[in-house]
């Protein structure tokens, strides 16, 4: 997965091995003091967004169900079920709401996140 531009980059860290994430699920990683939800898809690509659900204010987005809606990769908040794009962080139900997106990629079998 290529690094995306326009993202506030400071440092990248290795958060886990790829096999530590069950395909099509997420985990939460602590990256430079921030909680980051990291998802592994079935093609072994990884995506990272902020773990905090802006609606419930609980740190739970990594525990949501991953899928696609209207052609967009999304995770559903496990609390109130809003959908957040894994690519842009935008909420499908309320486009004014966004969560931060972070660069994430796989190197060998290591998952790296820059936050």
């Amino acid at each position: 997965m290529s690094a995306r531009p326009k993202i506030n980059t400071s440092k990248s860290i290795a958060v886990c091995r790829l096999q530590d994430i069950v395909p099509n699920t997420g985990v939460c990683a602590l990256v430079a003091g921030r909680q980051v939800a990291v998802f592994r898809l079935d093609d072994d690509s990884v995506h990272a967004i902020e773990n905090r659900d802006p609606f419930s204010r609980a740190n739970v987005l990594s525990r949501g169900i991953v899928g696609d809606l209207k052609g967009e990769l999304v995770v559903a908040s496990p609390v109130f079920k809003q959908h957040f794009s894994l690519v842009t962080g935008r909420c499908q139900e309320d486009p004014a709401v966004r969560v931060a997106v972070f660069a994430a990629w796989v190197d060998g079998d290591t998952v790296l996140v820059r936050a």
Binding site: V15, C16, D20, I21, V22, P23, N24, T25, V27, C28, A29, L30, Q35, V38, L41, D42, R52, S56, R57, A58, N59, V60, R63, G64, I65, V66, G67, D68, L69, K70, L73, V74, A76, P78, V79, K81, H83
Partner: protein, 842 residues
């Protein structure tokens, strides 16, 4: 305008509703005099009072109705005289009340033949809730009960006595049952069916007198010299209009009673109207509720200034279920029309009788009788009423459908817009079509919006046909697709998974769907896979499909922590286990609360604590409670006959058996059950998906109840079952629901949207008409046999345990989870409190 309505029965109430809905009525000052201690209730379903419905359940007054301004309901205050000159009504308690318009809706009273002994203690009539309460009280000390009268209401009363556990007899003066509605053959078949249910029928019996009995309280002596001993007698030999008030006010009454009314429902005094069973229209008294409703509407409209409103007679066709036997009578059932021709079909083996009465030219249907199977009632009624031309071979309407041949019924498309589909609530085909156009595209929505098929339910299949036909015409594809990934309903998908032996989401989506799936279809497919194959839900191929509750086998709370509800089957728990729960809660600092379903809920567990907590619980012998799953949650019970003075069966033992049998099985939505040890119903079983109530002879099974947001009283599915039959029926019921329910559809809404309703469920579950009973039982047994405690399995699997941590790369807990103390326990910190606490810890 000052309006007084005397009587608050079903018809009087309906009149009020029609009246206040109109501008004139809304502005009027309305006083209702009601001699009974409660407002209008459903007398048609009076018998259900004995099968567990309460007076409140029978209430038909919309919430807040009598609290509207200008509306004054006076209970237990009967009208005693009308002063027509001064336009005043005198009531028992209220003195004199002035009126501009007066409506008499005084109904009828039961006719009791003038026999010596008719007033002995233990002799009753069957009309009000108070009558039923008196019968119930008397039945407690009685063994034999007898109903005098074999008509519609008499047979209802007989069912009530049977339900009360009495040896039941029916004594009828005429040579057959239901003289008005049936003919000889139909009456004979009905008799045979009723006798098979254990009710003894005596026809052509003219009671001479009632005196002291030897073995029972009374002895009924008949004119033919025979006699019958009985402890309790219920007279149900017809009704007489209550017209004394009108009579003494000098209004015109009929020779054999009844307040004479014109086409506007006005009596001989144009300011006084009469409606319902007290009214005599064109020499006729209608003893059914539907014509009463029609009069109520006409009178209300006329009162509100619609001079054109007229009552021009009503159809008296009926369909009912007497002790589980379908009986229907349409139009000229006796074939009294000149030159009428009959078509008859009898199947004594199956207990089915159908008769058509057609016009001499064979063009039109005049009437019909159906016994044993009244599915065609709605169609035949429409054919006779409208009238529609008969098909080329009228006999096809009553002959059983041959294999492969579709039923040659009436196409609903042929019905005119004005055709009355639901006569109880006066809903025409046109009104149904309008409602469909306005967006009622499901049977449930259509029923709710139009009220069609919500009283007797007889028109249910026809309403569904109209709905389907309209949807087809509008080109509306009946869409019940799960989501954008699957163009199938849950039921269809279930079938595809089962037949195709598909075992993973990937296989299902590859074969029948598209895309990656979403949070709608993934849990739905996971539930289907679990119901079909019962594999551990946290296997790597299933875990990504689960909602967070199923993924972490606990219930997510607002701050990201979880709550834990260990299984406590039937709510029975030893002191030792109770201590364990307390110790575990104290050790991990959890908030504890008793749930509404007799469980103990432990709150505030962080995700990484769940395995530690469960290790302690599993070691102490606790199992997963499935409060997190779309599965059986709990079986609630009362202490039953073991301890309770009133209990008649061991409700706790049955509840434990049921909870342990169905634990862990995944379903379209959560399921709740309860078992009560007697009719007092302390476990509140009738508000559950499956509710079991003990009887002297076994168990009554109620299904599809619901509490919560949309309460629904459960329907009685079967009575007096032994333990094994009870389990068998629940097995079949649950799997039938699991296979056919929609995603997140509780049993109550499932039933309301099921064509045929509870009767259909009864046919499938109790009579096995689909022939799938054995298959459903075998499937259920497989699920029962493959049960494993999910937590026990999870803590033994290091791969699964790895997922129970907040950070993949740190052992720190989530710093956002902060608790404060309240009433001696923890609670999640509020936003302001949390910021303070976080600052303090950093």
């Amino acid at each position: 305008m000052k309006l007084i309505v005397v009587g608050n029965g079903m018809v009087g109430q309906r009149l009020l509703e029609h009246f206040v809905a109109r501008a004139e009525g809304g502005a009027a000052e309305v006083t209702v005099l009601c001699e009974e201690p409660r407002a209008a209730y459903d007398r048609v379903r009076l018998t259900s009072f004995f099968s567990g419905k309460s007076a409140d359940d029978l209430n038909v007054v919309p919430a807040g109705f009598f609290e509207q301004p200008g509306m004054n309901l006076r209970l237990e205050d009967a009208a005693v005289a009308i002063d027509r000159k001064r336009k005043r009504v005198r009531s028992v308690r209220g003195g004199e009340l002035p009126y501009d318009k007066l409506v008499l809706a005084t109904g009828s009273y039961p006719f009791v033949p003038p026999l010596p002994g008719k007033d002995r203690p233990g002799c009753f009539v069957y009309r009000t809730i108070e009558d039923l309460e008196a019968i119930r009280a008397a039945a407690a000390g009685a063994r034999v009960g007898t109903v005098v009268g074999g008509g519609l209401l008499g047979l209802e009363a007989a069912k009530a006595l049977k339900d009360l556990g009495l040896e039941t007899h029916v004594v009828e003066f005429a040579p057959r049952l239901m003289t008005v509605q049936l003919d000889d053959v139909g009456g004979r078949l009905l008799r045979r069916k009723i006798e098979a249910l254990g009710v003894t029928v005596h026809t052509s019996k003219n009671t001479k007198e009632i005196g002291d009995g030897a073995a029972c309280r009374h002895r009924m002596a008949f004119l033919d010299g025979s006699a019958l001993e009985t402890d309790l007698i219920v007279f149900s030999a017809g009704i007489r209009p209550r017209d004394d008030l009108a009579r003494s006010a000098g209004l015109a009454v009929g020779e054999r009673g009844g307040i004479a009314i014109d086409n506007h429902c006005r009596s001989s005094d144009p300011d006084i109207y009469a409606v319902g069973e007290c009214a005599l229209w064109s020499g006729r008294i209608y003893g059914l509720v539907a014509p009463g409703y029609q009069m109520a509407e006409v009178a209300a409209r006329h009162l509100a200034g619609e001079a054109a409103a007229q009552f021009l007679g009503a159809d008296t066709s009926t369909k009912l279920k007497l002790m589980g036997v379908d009986v229907a009578s349409v139009g000229d059932a006796q074939g009294t029309t000149l030159n009428a021709l009959n078509y008859v079909y009898t199947d004594e083996a199956e207990g089915v009788y159908r008769k058509l009465v057609v016009s001499g030219d064979r063009k039109y249907l005049l009437g019909a009788i159906l016994v044993g199977d009244a599915d065609r009632y709605g169609e035949l009624l429409q054919m006779a009423l409208n009238p529609l031309p008969l098909p080329e071979h009228p006999e096809d309407l009553i002959l059983p459908a041959r294999e492969g041949a579709a039923g040659k019924g009436l196409g609903v498309d042929l019905l005119p817009e004005a055709a009355l589909v639901c006569s109880c609530n006066s809903v025409s085909k046109g009104a149904l079509c309008e409602a469909v156009a306005a967006g009622c595209t499901s049977l449930g929505a259509l029923k709710k919006h139009t009220k069609a098929s919500t009283t007797c339910g007889g028109c249910g299949p026809l309403v569904k046909q109209v709905l389907d036909c309209e949807l087809r015409k509008r080109g509306v594809e009946v869409k019940n697709h799960l989501c954008e990934h699957f163009a199938y309903s849950r039921q269809e998908l279930f079938h595809l998974v089962q037949v195709g032996k598909l075992a993973s989401f990937e296989a299902v989506v590859a074969k029948h769907g598209r895309g990656r799936g979403c949070d709608i279809c993934k849990p739905a497919v996971a539930s289907i896979l679990a119901s079909c194959w019962n594999e551990m839900i946290l296997k790597p191929r299933h875990a990504p499909l689960q909602d967070t509750n199923d993924r972490f086998l606990a219930n997510l709370q607002k701050n990201g922590t979880y709550s834990i509800v260990p299984r406590v089957p039937a709510g029975e728990i030893t002191p030792e286990k109770l201590v364990v729960l307390g110790k575990v809660a104290a050790k991990f600092g959890l908030y504890t609360k008793i749930t509404g379903a007799q469980r103990i809920d432990l709150f505030g567990a962080r995700v990484e604590q769940l395995p530690l907590i469960w290790k302690d619980l599993v070691d102490a012998g606790f199992e997963s409670g499935h409060a997190y799953g779309k599965a059986l949650r709990t079986v609630k019970s009362c202490v039953g006959s073991t301890w309770c003075r009133y209990g008649v069966q061991d409700s706790v033992a049955m509840a434990i058996r049921i909870e342990n049998r169905y634990r862990g099985i995944r379903s379209p939505h959560k399921m709740k059950m309860a078992v009560s040890g007697c009719a007092r119903e302390c476990a509140e079983a009738q508000g559950k998906d499956v509710g079991i109530i003990a009887t002297e002879r076994g168990w009554n099974l109620h299904v599809c109840g619901n509490g919560g947001m949309k309460p629904r009283h459960a329907d009685l599915l079967a009575q007096d079952l032994d333990d094994e039959t009870l389990i068998r029926f629940i097995d079949r019921f649950l799997l039938f629901y699991i296979r056919t329910g929609d995603r997140l559809q509780r049993t109550s809404t499932w039933l309301e949207n099921l064509e045929g309703g509870i009767d259909y469920v009864r046919k499938v579950v109790c009579e096995d008409t689909l022939g799938i009973g054995t298959e459903l039982e075998a499937d259920m047994q497989r699920l029962v046999d493959s049960y494993e405690c999910e937590w026990k399995k999870a803590i033994g699997d290091p791969e699964i345990m790895k997922r129970f941590r907040h950070f993949v790369n740190s052992d720190l807990p989530d710093s956002n989870v902060v608790f404060v103390a309240e009433r001696g326990q923890i609670r999640p910190a509020r936003e302001s409190e949390r910021e303070e606490a976080v600052v303090m810890t950093t």
